[in-house]
Amino acid sequence: MKKFEGTANYVATDDLRIAVNAAITLERPLLIKGEPGTGKTVLAFEVAKAIGVPIIQWHIKSTTKAQQGLYEYDAVSRLRDSQLGDERVKDIKNYISKGKLWEAFTNDARPVLLIDEIDKADIEFPNDLLLELDRMEFFVYETGETIKAKQRPIVMITSNNEKELPDAFLRRCFFHYIKFPDRDTMNKIIDVHYPKIMDKLVGEALNIFYQIREVPGLKKKPSTSELLDWLKLLMADDITAETLRERDPSKLIPPLHGALLKNEQDVHLFERLAFLARRERN
């Protein structure tokens, strides 16, 4: 198995690299947490790309049940078929649809299985998957067969911390917290995404960005993905480093702030603070 070293458009720090490689080698699920927008979901895609395997995504919603990841038995359509005298009704296999885990288990290559935003599901959801993730097999009651993984898929799980995950589940995972990137890493990330962007512009933009993150009381701090969006807008609008620096008193907040601050209260708060700061200076 190839080792993961980051890719052309994903900057992986040392600790992240080791966490991913440990999870791949030791065949344990990797649980990834971090502020929204720090690239948790993207990581799974990049890992799949870097080691050249397919990716199977399972997006979790509040209504998702663990069973749906294994398989679903469509009893209603079988009942209907039985009333219409359909031939298909004799074979129960026709009414079983495979879930994402089944797909991952029976895949020929060793795929990356992304279980995205596991915290969105009901509290019991992770517990229901314990055995399946541990032994990488499950039993289909309707047909009496056991589905066993050909190779253990690389399981990556993301969480936004909306719910605590049960202890028994955590014990089986490796864990990595993507911390917010420091200036150097951020520069690298920007470089990877917008190689042509002028250094000065980036420097100024980063200044403003970190200033905004420092503002106390923001409801949602801007994160990496917001910064990248904002830079994209700045470039599209041909805004120069000088414009960013000049700080026109009539314009209290940075241009195109909508990409950074996504909350009306935050914009108000920022305006108020900027106003105060300016008054002090004058």
Binding site: D14, A19, N21, V76, Q83, K163, F175, Y177
Partner: protein, 391 residues
């Protein structure tokens, strides 16, 4: 190996278990990492810590457990048992090289020689950090006995670091249950759930459908209501005066509770519960609701939460007329006891840090009235409080 480290972690109340420790051992065994301290730090962190709140604690324990590791003197290597060296080295040697060793007098001789060298080195350069076997003429260097290969000596890379990764303590902010945001509060409040099916029949009840269909002999669809959180909550907020310092926390708690509980109602009071409460602080003197009405209106299965610092003069609780705002016929304690008699689940959340509670008599009295069900307004306290309410 690393058992002390493991025990230190457990002592620091980081929930590590044997399973995770074995995972770490497996990782080392399968050579997921090069044998560098930094990489070991990352691997052990990913294997042992499962919650970002524990990352800072982990960093501290790691720094403590492996203190001095970086400045390991080569003379310490004389303590390494022979078998271990032998086994390790064999891994790196080809058959040919092994034969060459044999021709030099075998393992025992080589080991003896090595020990002698170590002794000599100790005498000649005290505290020096010259590696064994780097000299061109030494047989140790020639036969892959280079410490570089098995990394028993010092690695220059290890030395050059100004700050060790774990000493940066980058996760300091994530530690501590003190930091409490709306989101965290919501998570804690979610403990308080009571599922029930009520209302319109909108969901297909599959098991029941199958049962009745089999029974009737034709397709008979059975519907059922969706699951809802049925828990009912009544919150009393202390407002004004000494509570001004905690206003942000209370706001957050309020907004979290608002979205989390469908059946929630709230009232304000000042310092202690008396004969009336109010819902709008601007019109608190005109639009008061008598506390009796509140007690009559909300049935006994409501869970009652008080939010307040309970910091006042003890008279305000225990004496008639003790209130600072008006003349109260009955002492606050009587009202609180009335309330606890009606509602089975009553708790008090106090934004004052728990360690200060003992210095304030009124907090003590309040705690007594609520039979100890007072919790600090931290994540941990909130968690405990919700468990208590859920009992």
């Amino acid at each position: 190996m690393f058992l002390n480290f493991f025990h230190d972690l457990r002592q620091a109340k980081i929930p590590v278990t044997l399973k995770e420790y074995l995972a770490l051992m497996e990782g080392l065994d399968r050579q997921v990492i090069d044998m560098k301290v930094d990489e070991f730090y990352y691997l052990s962190r990913t294997a042992l810590v499962k919650d970002e709140r524990n990352l800072d604690k982990f960093d501290r324990v790691f720094a403590h457990a492996f203190k001095g590791l970086e400045t390991l003197e080569p003379t310490d290597l004389a303590q390494i048992p022979e078998d271990w060296l032998k086994a390790l080295t064999e891994k790196f040697l080809s058959e040919e090289e092994k034969k060459q060793i044999e021709s030099l007098g075998g393992w025992e001789k080589l080991m003896e020689e090595l020990k002698k060298r170590l002794e000599e080195q100790k005498k000649r350069h005290e505290g020096g950090n010259k590696m064994i076997g780097t000299g061109g003429t030494s047989p140790f260097g020639a036969y892959g006995y280079n410490p570089e290969g098995i990394r028993m000596g010092q690695d220059k890379g290890r030395h050059g670091k100004a700050v060790k990764v774990w000493d940066k303590r980058e996760y300091k902010n994530l530690d501590d249950s003190v930091e409490l945001g709306t989101r965290n509060i919501k998570i804690a409040l979610r403990r308080l759930r009571k599922w029930a099916r009520e209302g319109a029949l909108t969901e297909l009840d599959l098991p029941e459908t199958i049962r009745t269909t089999a029974h009737q002999g034709y397709l008979d669809l059975v519907m059922r209501a969706e699951r809802h959180n049925k828990v009912k909550v009544l919150i009393f907020f202390d407002i004004g005066g000494s509570m001004d310092a905690h206003i942000k926390l209370c706001e957050e708690l309020f907004s979290a509770a608002r979205t989390e509980f469908k059946h929630m109602d709230f009232f304000y009071f000042h310092n202690c519960l008396y004969e009336s409460v109010w819902k709008d602080n601007r019109r608190r003197h005109n639009e008061k609701s008598p506390t009796w009405d509140v007690l009559h209106k909300y049935p006994h299965d409501y869970k009652v939460v008080f939010v307040g610092d309970a910091t006042m003069s003890p008279y305000e609780i225990t004496y008639p007329g003790g209130s600072v705002e008006h003349w109260n016929e009955e002492p606050g304690a009587v009202w609180l006891e009335r309330l606890t008699r009606i509602y089975e689940h009553v708790i008090w959340l106090n934004p004052v840090p728990e360690r200060h509670w003992d210095y304030t008599p009124s907090i003590q009295i309040m705690k007594q009235i609520l039979s100890d069900r007072m919790y600090p307004l931290t994540l941990e306290g909130l968690d405990k409080a919700m468990r208590e309410l859920n009992r």
